[in-house]
């Protein structure tokens, strides 16, 4: 079965004369419900799982190494590909890292544009994550409704920066383009419709008995375990830990914005189960809508990008930047040696930690639950492998 590197242990238990054997299954790189190319070697006893060993690396593209060849300006489009579902956050992380290295200040309007683009992207990313989670559980309709809303966001972002998935919108020192005429009206129109669609979503699926029964009490992750395993973002907040980089370690203009941080409370099951992770994302989308409305109301006029030389040579040193991406706390560690090309770039993504916790929590659950757990942890393969 091609399990290179893994030892296959065949355990024979004799229970009352009936010999049972543990089955080793391969939830291979091509599978309708692993989000991207991920592979799990699953050891199952009938329907009940004993272990799920993750096997990553199918989507490794050496992005961090490529940065050493293309330089600071040229690396911006590559950061889109680190997490293509929520690309604005990666852009922002890289931009902030280079700005901190070279002590560049982004103009106010540029920061507002960054936050507007990021929060729109957060809604889009959560819609995709929630939609695919529902699709994996079995309901096909809410997925299409989520994608319909996401397409409207993609239309807005296409107007803003010219692309629908790999935006390359931000530059070192700000953003590339200002908001086009009519963008604010169209966005507010979208936000009004989105709130209606979100309420319909709730009526359709969120409290549906079958859906709730599939998700509550499945793999509850306690707050202590979540912190030990390095979970961040909505996964951590669902376990009851109220920590959000935007509020607790604020960057950009998040100090001036007023928003709540939704935390999982175990309202229908245990704190930190799959349902909590789902409902935290739904609530975060509503919070992003609030943030966007504030940004559109408060955005000041002015330039959107600072003056940055074409040959960007920051002084030698290193910097660590944290951005609250849709999947958690995305860390950017950039080491510069004073030349045009970075010496080392290291990206720390939320999905990588989430992959590591799957093995620890997946014993005793059923095969169908494994799919629900992977989906609720919102793992995207490009972030895991970079």
């Amino acid at each position: 079965m091609g399990l290179a590197g893994f030892e296959v242990e065949v355990e024979r238990e004799g229970t009352q004369g009936l010999e049972t054997e543990e089955m080793t299954l391969n939830m291979g790189p091509q599978h309708p419900s692993t989000h991207g190319v991920l592979r799990f070697v699953v050891k199952a006893d009938g329907e009940v799982m004993r272990q799920a060993i993750p096997d990553i690396g199918y989507l490794h593209r050496s992005i961090e190494k490529i940065s050493e060849k293309v330089g600071y300006h040229g690396f911006m489009p590559y950061t889109d590909r680190v997490d293509y579902v929520a690309a604005m956050f990666c852009n922002q992380g890289w931009g902030m890292a280079c700005e901190k290295l070279a002590n560049i200040e982004v103009p106010k309007r540029g920061e507002y544009c960054r936050v507007i683009a990021s929060e729109l992207n957060r809604i889009a990313s959560h819609l995709l994550s929630v939609g695919t989670m529902i699709l994996d559980i079995g309901a096909t309709t809410p997925f299409f409704h989520a994608i319909r809303e996401r397409e409207k966001i993609n239309d807005l972002l296409e107007e803003l920066c010219g692309a629908r998935l790999t935006y390359n919108y931000m530059r070192i020192g700000g953003v590339a383009w200002d908001l086009p005429p009519g963008f604010v009206e169209r966005s507010i129109d979208f936000l009004d419709n989105f709130e209606l669609a979100a309420r319909e979503f709730e009526d359709l699926i969120t409290y549906n008995k079958i859906y709730v029964e599939r998700l509550i009490d499945v793999c509850p992750i306690s707050a202590e375990k979540a912190i030990n395993y390095n979970l961040t973002g909505p996964n951590l907040r669902a376990s009851g830990v109220s920590y959000d980089v935007r509020r607790d370690d604020p960057y950009s203009i998040y100090r001036e914005l007023d928003f709540q941080v939704p935390v999982g409370k175990g309202e229908l099951g245990t704190v930190g189960d799959c349902f909590d992770r789902y409902i935290v994302r739904i609530r975060e989308m509503n919070e992003s809508v609030k943030i966007l409305r504030q940004c559109f109301a408060q955005i000041p006029p002015g330039p959107v990008i600072a003056k940055v030389p074409r040959k960007f040579k920051p002084p030698a040193g290193d910097v660590f930047i944290r951005v609250e991406s849709a999947r958690g706390d995305m860390g950017w560690y950039v080491v510069s040696d004073g030349s045009e090309f970075p010496y080392r770039v290291k990206i720390r993504t939320g999905s990588f930690a989430a992959m590591s916790i799957i093995d620890a929590i997946s014993s005793g659950i059923m095969l169908a639950d494994l799919v629900a757990v992977i989906a609720s942890l919102d793992i995207v393969a490009p972030e895991v492998d970079r």
């Binding site: 590559y78 107007e159 079958i210 245990t270 074409r310």
Partner: protein, 195 residues
Amino acid sequence: MRKKTSYLRNIIDTCTTIFEGMAVTFSHFVRKPTTIQYPDRMPVRVQDSLPFRYRGILEVDLEICTGCLACERACPIDCIVIDVKKDKDAGGMVMTRFDIDMAKCMYCGLCSEPCPTGSIHHTPEFEGADYSLESLIRRFIKDPVVAYKPKKTGETDPEIIPILERGNIYVEEFATPESNKPVGGDKPDPKAEAA
């Protein structure tokens, strides 16, 4: 701990939530679908309805290309290859090759930013699928072309003026400020170029 729901509560919850869910789905059944039936059942061609900033397939207006190689330097994936050399007989820089490999291009837009005249720009064209990899390399030069020299006093050639104006629109939209100025005004700031 899981809250114990009573037997009857479970049955009632199931029935009511399924009822509500079916009402929502039925309400969607009687709505107009949001599908855009590309490419034949559309009121307007998709390419004409895309926003101006859409980053489609690259296009080069060779009449106003100055041969400055800024786009080749800016490209992060080295998909633009330009051969330029000084030729006294033709009077200026002569370009013998301008190839953009669209198979490598990542449509990032970094090349259209530093262009001083706006000759390299993205078009709203996106239907570029073809049967062979070689046909994806767009070769813009057949015979050697003299590079364009922007005139300080403004352009006088009536054929080039409309192309220059269109290029200026691109420069104003896409160029990062302070590093490029529209052509027809002063020369590009040499300090900004060398920094």
